[in-house]
């Protein structure tokens, strides 16, 4: 039996009927066409599916769409303001924090979550904050650089 859910995705109200077993990641990708959220594993390890729910980073492959009922979800598609990239997106671009780009949306959202509660993290803190996100291309070096760069840009913009 399908159940109705109502939530906000990237600022838009969404109402849908979903099957209980539908994972949030498939709801976002298949039902809403938000394919920026990727699936890389099935054991809640790789973090390619990371989104923000009510501002907190979570793995959308490890929760049911039904569990997101009543929440606010932010995916990679909701981060930029129109054509203006979010500072973290910009920093990944500037610092070459991505290669194939598959893990990138999850990385960026994990970074966004980190910077939301720790605006000027140390490099070591950044590395630990990425524990739930695997990248096979970059060796993480430039991802760490990018997040640090973004943190500087964001905190100088707000101060």
């Amino acid at each position: 039996m399908k159940h109705k859910i109502e939530l906000e995705v990237n600022g838009q109200k969404v109402e849908r009927e979903v099957e209980p077993r539908l994972l949030l990641v498939h709801f976002l990708r298949e039902d809403l066409g938000l394919t920026g959220t990727n699936v890389g594993c099935e054991t809640s390890i790789c973090g390619a599916c990371t989104v923000l729910i009510d501002g907190k980073a979570v793995k959308s492959c490890s929760q049911l769409a039904l569990q997101a009922d009543g929440t606010k979800v932010t995916t990679i598609e909701g981060l930029a303001q129109g054509s203006q990239l979010h500072p973290i997106q910009e920093a990944f671009w500037e610092k070459h924090g991505l290669q194939c780009g598959y893990c990138t949306p999850g990385m960026i959202l994990s970074a966004a979550y980190l910077l939301s509660h720790s605006p000027r993290p140390s490099k070591d803190e950044i590395r630990h904050a990425l524990k739930g996100n695997l990248c096979r291309c970059t060796g993480y070096h430039n991802i760490v650089e990018a997040i640090e760069h973004a943190s500087h840009k964001m905190s100088s913009a707000t101060s």
């Binding site: 209980p20 994972l23 973090g47 980073a57 979570v58 490890s62 929760q63 039904l66 569990q67 524990k131």
Partner: protein, 285 residues
Amino acid sequence: MYPAPFDYVRATSLDDALRLLDESSDAKLIAGGHSLLPMMKLRLAQPAKLIDIGQLPLRGVAFTGDAVRIGALTTHAELASSRELLQHCPLVAEAASVIGDPQVRNRGTLGGNIAHADPGSDLPAALVALGATIRLRARKGERTVAAKDFFVDLLTTDLQPGEVITAVDVPKAAAGTGSAYLKFEHPASGYAVVGAAAWVRVSGGKCAAAGLAFNGVTATPLVSEAALAQIIGSDLSDATLAEAAAKIEAVDPLGDVYASGDYRVHLARVYAQRAVAKARERAVE
């Protein structure tokens, strides 16, 4: 990757959850879903029904006399950052802070974690070392179980059909107490190959009381009474800790392709010394 079909119902209250649980066969509770859903995605678990208790007000940290009561739906991230816990039960906060990764900590809950009873999980040993009490509710009433009795076997607890974990009571750390959770992390899963949870209360330069338990070594949290006996009443010197650690033994230690049982026991002995030493350093008389 794709769970088998199941029915879903959202509990509106604890009583509602208990009723649903009683009336359903082959139903599972879901809160954060971080223990259950990965199993369902691999079809290692195929419950007929999920009862979602994620919205129930079983969340947060409160004081009850000498104990801290932690709601079962409190997330690991909340445990790790709770001011109350950091002050009165820092061992729980420290263990929670190294569970999985930030995303997992944002969704995984205390109740789900201990109900799943993974031997590599970080909270069980901390709760056992602290002498925590698990509060369980069923339609017929409430009961409490000591943490050391709650974990029965690999992925098996004393939780009975129809019961829900509502909270965990953890004694407040008395003055002069220091604690530490030290983890040797599995490089793939992030679970504890060995996690040592230790606390000591120091009075007049002697160890007045202590707790010590290990995740990852055996199917349920390992406690060495012999080691504890050596530690309590001692001066907590490195030499004493080494003697105490040498007394740690394990029956049927866990072993896998990454770390054998022998090695886990060895790690427990080393980590016992390191964790207690760190707890000793943190204890302020």
